[in-house]
Every structure is written in C-alpha cells, then in structure tokens.
C-alpha cells in the first residue's frame, strides 16, 4: 500500500498520469438519459469507471414559511457499499453529506431551477424536487459525476399529474421541471505542486488538497469548496478558476 502510494506520487510529481491523460483532461464520459421509468427524471453518468445514478422524485408539499410562493429543492446522496469496500451502510458519512451539500449549493446558487414556477397555490401547495444521488461505482471524482447526473436528470424530469389535491403517480405530464441553466462542477486535486482535473480514485488517495468549482453556462462561478488537509496559493486558484470555467463549457456540451 505504501509502495503503491509512493509510485502514484512519483508519477504525479512528473506531471503525468497513470492513464496517460493530460493534467486538464477528463476521462471518457457516458450519459444515459432516463434509464429508469418510475422516477420523474433520471440519469446514469459514467466518468471513467465512476458510475452515479441520479433520480428526481417530485411531490407536493407545503412551502417553507419564508418562501411561500416557491417550490422546494432537496439534494441527497448515498455512497452505496456497492461502490467501494470503504463505504458502509449506515447513516450518511461526512463525505456523503459534503457531496450532497456541494451539489445542492451548485444547483441552488446558480438558480438553475425556477422555483417560483413550481408554486401551485401560494402558501399552501408547491412542488418539492428531490434529487437523490446514488453512487454505484467509485472510480474517483464523485462530485463532478454527481452534479452532471443531477443536472441531466433534472433536464429530463417531467411533472406527474396532480388532481384533486393528490399526485397521480405513474402518470407524467408534458410539463418539464423549469430549468434555467445547467450548473456543473469541475474538481481539481493537488499532488506535489501539480494540479490535475477529474482525479481518479488513485489520484485522490495521494492528493493533499482538492477544490471543486461550480460554474454556470455564462461562465460565472456559483459555488466553491476546498477539501483535503493542505492549502492552495492564490496563484494556483487563479489557474484553477480559468480551467474550471473552460472544462465546464466542454462538459456542458455533452448534456
């Protein structure tokens, strides 16, 4: 284990990657739209060997007291024990909570969903959008895959029928969840003095720091989150911001 890690670090220190990608190159991405019939929206995203299934469930609820005419967004994540021998069943771990909250903030702060359009009766009934991220296979960079899956699932989500104050499950209407933009994150890690986009699980295991940047279609940044025990210099962050906006544009084309 220690030898293997040393080997991974040695490669990274030369600026190279085990899979021969460039430092700012993503692995192959496959997006399956609507692989499931029951949820209102769904998407399966693969980045390299990482697999994330996103499901969107809609339901009608009372609005929050401080947002009487707005729908509700909730994002949850489960690191299924399928995905890694290190993931265990049980209450959500720190990592699962952070993942869900970073995806949540990226969508929320970008105002991607027009929540006012999800109001049925002000102060009484609004649509609640539950986005659940189910991590099936951990090959690294779970946040970017999750955010891609969440946005892809929201893009194909349709409201179910709502009649006589009740949701009629199984009968989808043609009305889409009102999506204004396509928020995505781009993750970089730091190994030695080098920065790598879209890290594999191996790269993550030897990285000393990590930063996720949420971007919008217009190139604005809508969320940031630093991880890992080490820090970044301001100059490193400048470089990462430019790269993240650029890579975000590339990813967005695949949606």
């Amino acid at each position: 284990m220690i030898l293997r890690n040393q080997y991974l670090v040695d490669i990274a220190l030369t600026g190279k990657r085990l899979d021969e990608r460039k430092a700012d190159e993503f692995r192959k991405i496959i997006i399956e739209k609507s692989p499931l019939e029951k949820p209102e929206g769904s998407a399966l995203v693969k980045i390299g060997t990482t697999q994330v299934m996103a499901g969107v469930k809609l339901d009608v609820k009372e609005p929050f007291p401080d947002a009487q005419n707005e729908g509700i967004l909730m994002v949850g994540a489960e690191l299924s024990p399928l995905a890694s021998p290190e993931f265990e069943r049980g209450p959500p771990t720190e990592d699962a909570i952070e993942l869900a909250r970073v995806v949540d903030r990226t969508i929320r702060e970008s105002h991607a969903i027009d929540l006012e359009k999800l109001c049925i009766t002000e102060g009484e009934k609004v649509w609640m959008v539950n986005v659940d991220l189910h991590i099936l296979d951990n090959g690294g960079n779970l946040v970017d895959a999750s955010c891609l899956a969440a946005t892809a699932a929201l893009m194909n989500a349709k409201l179910p029928k709502y009649e006589d104050g009740k949701v009629v499950w199984g009968e989808k209407t043609n009305k889409k969840v009102p999506l204004v933009c396509k928020p995505l994150t781009v993750t970089h890690v730091k190994i030695g003095q080098n920065l790598f986009a879209d890290p594999t699980e191996d790269e993550e295991s030897v990285a000393t720091a990590k930063v996720m940047i949420g971007t919008k279609d217009d190139g604005n940044i809508c969320a940031m989150q630093k991880g890992g025990g080490d820090g970044f210099t301001f100059q490193e962050l400048e470089k990462i911001f430019e790269k993240s906006v650029e890579l975000g544009k590339q990813l967005r084309k695949q949606l």
Binding site: E37, K38, S42, M53, G55, K57, P81, A83, R89, D132
Partner: protein
Amino acid sequence: MKRLDGRKPDEIRPIVMQAGVLKRAKGSAIVKLGRTTAIAGVYGPRKLHSKHQQDSNKAILKVTYNMVPFSTDERVRPGPSRRSTEISKVIREALESAICLEEFPKAVIEVQIDILQAEASTRVAALNAASIALADAGIPMKDLVSSCTAGKIEDTYILDVAGKEEDVTFCDLPVAYMPREKKITLLQMDGDLPVKDVKNVIQLAIKGCETLYERQKQALKEKWVGDLEDTAKALGLSNISGGKD
C-alpha cells in the same frame, strides 16, 4: 386465461440479466424483471475485524437489501426499515447453504443489493442478482440460487405476480430454489389458500426458478467470454478492435 398485462399464466416478465457491471466490486450483477431492477455487488471474503463476530469454522455472510430513494412512487427515506431488515435476513438464509462458507473461517463475505426500481418481486430480483454476483466474484458455490414468485387468480396458477395482479391474487408466494440439490431455501407467503393450492403454487414457482436459473448461467457465460476476449486482446492474441472505456 389472458393476464392483465397480456402474459400467459406461466410467463415471466421480460428478463434482463448481466454480470460484471461494476468495476470496484469483486463481483456484480444487474437483474431486471419487467421494470423491477436490482443491482448486487460482492466484497470479500476478507478477514472480519471484530473478533466478537468471527466464526472460527466458516465465513460469515452479510446481506443488505436496500431500496434507493427514487425506486418507488413516493420517495423512500434512506436507511433500513423493518421490511428491509426482514428481507435482508431471508435473502441471506436463502444463499447461505449455496456458498462454501467453510472454506473461509474467520472471514466475512458481503453482499450489497440496491433496488433501483421497484415494481413487484423486488426480493426475487435481488436474490437472482446476488447469486450471479457471488459467482462473478469467484466465490466457491455448490449451486446458483434462483428465485421466483407465483400466485393464484381465480382458478389459475400464475407465475411472477406483478402490477395490478397483486390486488387480486389469493397469495403472493416467493420461492428460492437450488435446482441441482432440489432444495427450497426461501419460502414466504402472504395470502389465504388451502394446502393443495399452496403446493401447486410452490411447484409453479419452482418451474419459474428453473427458467431463471438458465438465464443466470447464460449471463455468467457472457461475462466470462467477455473476460476471455479482454485477456486475449491484452495478450495480443486477438484483432478485435474498439477500446474499453
């Protein structure tokens, strides 16, 4: 008799079975029965850390059956329920005698099953997937375990109860079966039927298990052929083009 969804009495919904669908797990499989979709992954045998739980004669088998939040009409709260705890138990007890646990004393073998979409017979789909995933992981087994439900509507015994049939069947009876040993390793029933009918329903379910057994073996064969081709390619023995992602 024509069934509500047009199937014949002894017809199972469209079946999809695929082995080796995950990279990280040692073995894995996805199984679909109609829309019901189960994905299973296997880790181990690995040493059990907790000495308290170890068995010095054989490996411990742990099975978790889990519904993902978007698998049903109303969103499911994540985490175990009383229902999922019971189903995890009966699936484990259906698999135990098929696995050569005694070859791995003090170890644990973990089977995780996520239900991605639920529309009747989730425990059956889960069990079929778990069985393929265990074989895919190379865990030594006496036999594959296959599983199917049966029921009775009016005068007809029906296989693989699903959809609106659940409201009119006299019983819902899932069975797990090891065809080579002719052993029933899961048996549950909700319903109200005379003994004679119960026996007939069980026999129909066994017939369903035998059908699914063949499909399980086929899914494993396809995976192994694929693996062989990969190895051949890796050794330069093949000229098949196209890369793995």
